[in-house]
């Protein structure tokens, strides 16, 4: 069975062609890779490919289909898409509200202040929330002109990485 795998902006067609224990033959788009691939530690794989030794780290990120993948010098966001997911995604796209903008926290932290309130008109670049972590404050700004539709956190709240904070419409 062929899967679609999204890696950053690219979508690759991937298929397991053959397997004998840790000797794998995997097709990525038009290239067939014969690799010796084995898990050596939690989230760490060792790959031998054309004699070269590669170490690849996987970190599941948010779902069992999504990974941050680190090779020696690069980091990729990879998502494995199976048939079910693809279908669900197509359906969802049509019913998703257009034009919403979510302000997310890129890191865990503490909400210092929210200088806007629900219903406020805001313009691009205006600070809508300030979050602090490790003795450093970061201001998050509106990415579009619009109205504050929802404020999902309160001052003093501890927030997680990637959590929705504010919705602008």
């Amino acid at each position: 069975m062929a899967y679609e795998v999204n890696v950053d902006d690219r979508t690759a067609k991937v298929e397991l062609a053959a397997r004998n224990e840790n000797q794998l033959s995997i097709k990525v788009d038009d290239i067939t890779y014969d690799v010796d691939l084995i898990r050596v530690e939690e989230g760490v794989y060792s790959i031998l490919y054309n004699g070269k030794s590669y170490n690849v780290e996987l970190i599941e990120s948010g779902s069992e289909r999504k990974y941050v993948v680190n090779t020696l010098y690069n980091s990729y966001n990879v998502e494995v898409v199976d048939a079910e997911t693809r279908y669900r995604r197509i359906r969802n796209r049509s019913i998703m509200e257009e034009g919403e903008s979510h302000i997310k926290s890129p890191m865990p932290g503490k909400v210092v202040s929210v200088p806007v309130k629900k219903g406020d008109e805001v313009s691009v670049g205006q600070t809508v929330i300030i979050v602090s972590a490790m003795k450093m404050e970061s201001e998050f700004k509106a990415k579009k002109d619009g109205t504050i539709k929802d404020i999902l956190v309160n001052e003093g709240d501890t927030v997680k990485g990637d959590q929705d904070l504010i919705v602008i419409e």
């Binding site: 995997i26 989230g43 490919y49 996987l58 020696l72 990729y76 990879v78 494995v80 890191m107």
Partner: protein, 501 residues
Amino acid sequence: MIEKVLIANRGEIAVRIMRSCREMGIKTVAVFSEADRRALHVRYADEAYFIGPAPSNESYLVVDKIMDVAKQTGADAIHPGYGFLSENPGFAKRVEKEGLIFIGPTADAISTMGDKVTARKTMIKAGVPVVPGTEATLESDEQAKKTVKEVGLPVMIKASAGGGGKGMRMVKTEENIIPALRAARSEAKEAFGDDAIYVEKYVTSPHHIEFQVLADTHGNVIHLYERECSVQRRHQKVVEETPSPLLRDDVRQKMGKDAVEAARAVNYRGAGTVEFIVDEDQNYYFLEMNTRLQVEHPITERVVGVDLVKEQINIANGKPLTYRQEDLKQFGHAIECRIYAEDPNNNFMPSPGLIKHITEPMGLGVRTDGYVHEGYEIPLYYDPMISKLIIWGSDRKDAIGRMRRALHEYKITGVRTTIKFLEKIMQCDDFIKGTYNTHFIENNYEFLTSNEDCDETCEDLAVITAFFDYISKVDHMKSDRNVTKLNAWKEFGRRKGVMRL
């Protein structure tokens, strides 16, 4: 003799101090906030006591709580580490008033060096060169304007109570004098509760070079040579090395003597650091003195062969220094890289969170001083520095090669770190040549934050690995559907220490 030390700190420095105590057979007492119950310093100490909520002003900065623990446990000395209460003269005084030993200088020495204008005056009196500028704080806008013109543009306007780059403004043009002065004053007021301001000539292409000193209570003062700390980002040191690739040996000798004079001028006791600013022609000027152990002290330890914490304890015990100046020389070359939990590709945004996996570098010439481990959640309340990598080599080239190798081995997943950024520094021409100054990072920003080219293979192997992991999970899940109970046991057993009991 000191038999039990309370360490009024957390993180790597608390553990580092405890290590030397343990080697000397001295018992240790840790204190911890709500965010630190699982932290390594709590587990490493012989005893550990809770002192309050996560924010440091409710725990690590509360003198009363720390004194209570010290007395309750019968500790006979307190080591303040760096940061927190380490340069608070009130704390030093309080510790001694209660009959305990403060492992650090006298409150007087801390006060004198803590006020930058007083420190400048003291240094001028002692014959140590200072940056041309005012001897007094600037009272009025008019006086300021006049003084700036006398000193000559460009200048730095600085807070007298300052430190860490706060309350500091550079002025290049006349019309900026008044706005910069006001901004510095208000920032100083905010940060230190004191808006006293002074002015110094701005040194172009500056190097930040500091000297480690040790002083005992018998009048002996020695220096342990310099540390070059010019690789900085937002006035925060990122990489330090010793010897400095810049200094001529005659300048080194002269600076060392001046560092000793600076310490003598305040009747210094214990370990301290005299910071100098050095220009391209190797003119040097006293900048400030840090009256405590520095983050970067390990490179000195490695090259000079002295355990600075043990020396601090010996001095606190009233013993004379173990070393004479003539015993000390620099042997080989050492570099420290500070590992921060920050995202270099996103403006160095802090990245607290859960450490999933760590591989520490090992082998010849490698020392790591850290405090995080797999399954540890880095709290968001404290400093983002999670580890220090200290490398020794027989010469500078050897040390750089080894640092590259060690950074290559160092893997931390789960949070973003500056490891790759540090690798780029080690590959950067200006660093390799040793010709860098404090503008190094801004001058090389593009190179330092660029990604290494990777052929398509890399990306495809990333795809293959994720794909294979995913399909293995699917297979595994299918075959495991009916063994709930067993898996619940196993899953529990394997879970890392992130569960709040």
